[in-house]
């Protein structure tokens, strides 16, 4: 965790959706999963994590349900809904377009102009 990047605005929602798309997770699990899948390279603002989860639940992109955690504690598990899956697909596609466009732009050398 010595070299971490700041999250771009608006990307936290996308990362949360991605995290819960793999498996139902509780809030702390979402945090760990994002760290894990990003190879610990992202700085997650934890204060924004829960409001983001609530916002996504309110928008109907994820649903919440109480369940048992690995160490037998009651925990709230978030699951991706059908609408959330669609949303994630669109977001992923547009992110990829943006990322590759920016990457292409940034990799331009003087000969290519």
């Amino acid at each position: 965790m010595d070299k971490t990047a700041e999250l771009l605005p608006g990307t936290l929602d996308m990362l949360i959706l991605k995290a819960v798309s793999l498996k139902s997770l509780h809030g702390y699990g979402v945090l760990q999963r994002i760290r894990q899948i990003s190879g610990n390279a992202l700085e997650i603002p934890q204060g924004s994590l829960y409001p983001a989860l609530y916002r996504l639940e309110h928008q109907g992109l994820i649903t919440a349900e109480w369940g048992q955690s690995e160490n037998n504690r009651r925990a709230k598990y978030y699951t991706l809904t059908a609408a959330g899956r669609r949303h994630l697909r669109d977001e992923t596609a547009s992110w990829n377009r943006l990322a590759s466009a920016i990457a292409a732009a940034m990799n331009t050398t003087s000969e290519e102009v």
Binding site: P51, H58, G60
Partner: protein, 888 residues
């Protein structure tokens, strides 16, 4: 969108679960995070600190989570609500006054609006009700403004008026329904086959009448109302085909109407075909309407009323060409008018209802002004507090929303109380016979009305907030802090506003009071009119004899034995029968032809009230005899054709000669000599339609034998209170025939009182409204003056310390009240003048600007306002300078 609202409401409904879940989730997160950090080798203390740092403030996170659901708005609202409620609880006197004012004003408005809504606003319960018309004949120059329609009109117009999609006729009646031994008298409507088609609403089960069922041989069918079907047949689905006896004749039930079927104001239980003979449909019977049969029509979807009217006019003109009486009919100003059905039905009560609505709105206005004034006074008491809060950074948006929440809470609570008052008010109106208004049976306190009321209350709360918020925000916090700390007088403009509100209140209360006075005086003037007979100690009741059981001879015998029996009862001074008693509600007139009377050019046939009398009717009613003699019971048994006319009749036809001995024929044509009636007496005129009837149309009284009708009224003069005789009257009739009921039993005094209900109820209501208005005005005046005294305590104290007498202080405040009172009264006078002009049509022999009424109104207003000023003035005069100067 819908999903989000749903999720918000779920969160709101399970708010506790939401909060608990959120806390538990965050606790879980923190514990997991600490555990993980400890496991990775960190000390527990450090782990806790790190977790806290990463997550940030739990309270903030929770707030953000709530915001994600939109819950924060509700939390804020709830906070403001509880703050407002706390403030209102702190000033119980103000809150109680405000709530009471609102409850009374909203209640009164809801009550009157319920009536307006039912009578004037809600459409008739038929499809496209605004296309329904009524058509009636009028002969204005003969003094007959409304004569219904004739069978001939119907058969001549049916299918021939292109602008009308459908045309039908109906006739109200009452019939004896049921098996012998269990009969009851019911309201019925006889209708033409297309009646239900015209209305657009037919039987729920069964069928409507057919054209084949319009003769007296084939009309043995009936359609029942839903209420009658449920009550008499327990909603039997197999009722079709069953027999029902109507006037002793069995009829087959062929249909049952839906529960929603309500034709105008009738409470008819049974619908029968309007049967007629071919000769009654002949052209010679075209003008025989007599208000018995009414016509309704439905306009074509693309036609206008004017088109229908011009087509009817054209047809009338074409038909009258070969009418032998064409000249007379034309001279009478004959026309058949097409009028919207609903407007026509409620035309008589519309001005009164609008007047009451205006009155009750004025009441609401007074209440509103009163409340705004009280709110302003209250707000000025909090100027300092608000200034401090503004200085500490409270935004204007926050302060405004606080005011709105407070006033709306107040008006909403007042609105809820107003619902209760309104529900009670509607019950009270029932006591004033509001049900008898046209369409009055629909008046009810329902959910829609309640929701309208509450919506109105909320709107009012927001409106109230405007001046209060303006008052609070307009002053600079710094100024407010300074001026209040010195305890000086309040802002000049606020004072002017308060005072002009008081002036407006006084003026409005004065207008209401003057209007109520005009109505009351009119009522008094009407009640002073003599009906032309002695109304006390006379009991009357209607007896309907079925033609099947009582043909002509049977009717005569029935009348004879009835009057004989009644006249021999102890306590009966005299008894008689008449085909139509005064104030019965039936005002049909008919024509008579006078031997030797040559019509002057432009003079048309006149409609006269025509009665058949038997027994000792004239003595029972105590008519005054001007010349000749009364008719007696014997006149009905003799074959001599005699009659009695009233003085108006005699004066019209023989202004300079004696009417006794003159000859006339019943009907619009001279008959054979042997059929002429000889006038044997002239009696005083009698009011038939109502006390205010002022057209002396003349009346003819024939012996019952020569003018037999469907029903008669029995009139009995008793030595005891007439109501106590009701049971005896029913018993006597039942002795002659147990299946003949007596209905509409009322004393003559009651009939007259009932005929005045359209004047008495509005006068009573207007009086009631102005009473409340005065009360509100006195509260308002008291409030403002008390406030003025409190505001100026210091000034008064200083002046008294410098030698001012308490009398001077008293005069100062009395002068202020007098100034307000004078301004209010002057404005009120102008308003009362306009109001009087607007309500001229409702007044009777009272000018719109009646000096006595205005003087009385001014006196009462002045007395009430000055009484309200007395207490604060007294308090001002008793201020002790020592207390004031040392107190602060």
């Amino acid at each position: 969108m819908f999903k989000r609202i749903h999720s918000l409401f779920r969160a709101l409904a399970r708010r506790r679960d939401f909060e608990d879940g959120m806390s538990e989730e965050l606790r879980f997160h923190i514990e997991q995070s600490i555990d993980d950090l400890v496991r990775s080798g960190m000390s527990r203390e450090k782990a806790i600190r790190q977790t806290r740092m990463e997550l940030g403030s739990v309270t903030n996170v929770k707030g953000d989570c709530r915001e994600a659901f939109g819950l924060h708005l509700f939390d804020e609202f709830r906070r403001e609500l509880s703050y407002a409620a706390r403030l209102l609880r702190k000033t119980p006197g103000f809150t109680a006054t405000a709530l009471l004012t609102l409850a009374v004003c909203f209640g009164a408005n809801l009550t009157i609006f319920a009536v307006i809504d039912s009578v004037l606003l809600r459409p008739l319960p038929f499809p496209a009700p605004d296309r329904l018309m009524t058509i009636f004949n009028t002969y204005p120059k003969a003094g007959v403004y409304r004569d219904g329609s004739s069978l001939t009109n119907y058969y001549e117009r049916r299918g021939r008026i292109a602008a009308l999609a459908s045309l039908s006729i109906y006739s109200y009646g009452t019939e004896i329904v049921g098996e012998p031994g269990s009969t009851e008298r019911l309201q019925t409507v006889r209708v033409s086959p297309d009646f239900f088609f015209t209305l657009g609403l037919g039987p729920a089960i069964g069928r409507t009448f057919t054209d084949e069922e319009t003769t007296s041989e084939t009309d043995h069918v009936a359609i029942l109302s839903d209420a009658f079907w449920r009550q008499r047949y327990s909603a039997d689905p197999n009722v079709l085909g069953k027999q029902i006896r109507v006037n002793s004749v069995p009829r087959t039930v062929i249909g049952v109407l839906p529960p929603s079927f309500l034709f105008l104001s009738t409470d008819a239980r049974v619908f029968l075909p309007l049967a007629s003979r071919m000769e009654d449909r002949a052209p010679s019977r075209r003008h025989s309407g007599g208000n018995v049969i009414q016509m309704i029509a439905r306009l074509q979807p693309d036609a206008t009323l004017a088109q229908a009217q011009s087509e009817i006019d054209a047809q009338n003109a074409a038909l009258e060409v070969d009418d032998p009486q064409a000249k007379m009919i034309a001279d009478a100003g004959f026309r058949s008018l097409v009028v919207p059905l609903r407007a026509d039905h409620v035309a008589a009560v519309r001005p009164t209802l609008l007047l009451l609505e205006a009155g009750v709105l004025v009441l609401l206005l007074i209440g509103a002004v009163n409340l705004v004034n009280l709110l302003l006074i209250r707000a000025s008491g909090r100027v300092k507090e608000l200034a401090v809060r503004q200085a500490l950074g409270a935004g204007w948006r926050y302060l405004v929303s606080e005011v709105v929440v407070e006033t709306t809470l107040l008006t909403f609570a007042g609105g809820l109380l107003g619902l209760a008052v309104g529900a009670g008010g509607i019950q009270l109106l029932r006591g004033l016979d509001v049900d008898r208004l046209p369409l009055g049976s629909r008046i009810a306190f329902d959910v829609r009305l309640a929701l309208d009321g509450l919506a109105g209350a909320i709107v009012m709360g927001i409106v109230f907030a405007v001046p209060v918020a303006w008052y609070q925000l307009r002053r600079h916090p710094g100024n407010a802090l300074q001026s209040e700390s010195r305890g000086s007088t309040s802002g000049h403009s606020a004072q002017i506003l308060r005072h002009s509100f008081i002036v407006a209140q006084i003026a409005l209360a004065f207008i209401l009071l003057a209007g109520a006075g005009l109505l009351g005086l009119s009522l008094q003037r009407v009640m002073a009119i003599s009906p032309g007979f002695q109304s006390d100690h006379v009991l009357t009741g209607q007896v309907l004899l079925p033609w099947a059981d009582y043909p002509e001879a049977g009717r005569l015998k029935f009348m004879q034995s009835l009057t004989d029996k009644l006249n021999h009862l102890p306590g009966v001074l005299s008894a008689g029968v008449v085909t139509n008693v005064p104030f019965s509600g039936n005002i049909g007139k008919s024509a008579a032809t006078i031997a030797g009377h040559v019509r002057r050019p432009g003079e048309s046939a006149r409609g006269h009230y025509s009665y058949g009398v038997d027994g000792d009717y004239f003595h029972a009613m105590v008519f005054s005899l001007r010349a000749g003699r009364f008719l007696t019971a014997d006149d009905s048994r003799r074959s001599a054709r005699v009659c009695v006319v009233d003085e108006d009749f005699a004066r019209y036809y023989w202004p300079h000669a004696n009417a006794i001995g003159q000859l006339l024929w019943d009907g619009s044509e001279a008959g054979k000599d042997a059929e002429a009636f000889t006038i044997v007496g002239v009696v005083g005129g009698v009011k038939q339609a109502g006390l205010t009837e002022n057209e002396a149309q003349g009346a003819i009284y024939y012996p019952y034998a020569f003018r037999i009708g469907d029903s008669v009224f029995v009139a009995v003069r008793t030595s005891l209170p007439p109501e106590s005789f009701a049971l005896t009257m029913q018993k006597v009739v039942r002795q002659i025939d147990p299946d003949v009921p007596v209905s509409d039993i009322r004393s003559m005094d009651t009939r007259i009182a009932d005929s005045l209900v359209a004047r008495r109820s509005p006068a009573l209501l207007a009086g009631f409204f102005s009473g409340i208005a005065l009360l509100l005005t006195s509260i308002g005046t008291y409030g403002v003056l008390s406030y003025a005294v409190t505001q100026r305590r210091r000034e008064i104290g200083v002046r008294m310390a410098l030698g001012a007498q308490s009398g001077q202080i008293r005069i100062q405040f009395l002068a202020l009240s007098l100034r307000l009172l004078t301004a209010g009264t002057v404005l009120g006078l102008i308003g009362a003048w306009q109001t009087g002009r607007a309500m001229r049509s409702l007044l009777f022999q009272v000018p719109p600007l009646d000096v006595a009424v205005l003087a009385a109104a001014a006196g009462v207003t002045a007395a009430v306002c000055l009484a309200a000023c007395l207490l604060p003035t007294q308090r001002a005069a008793q201020i002790s300078p020592m207390e004031v100067l040392t107190g602060e």
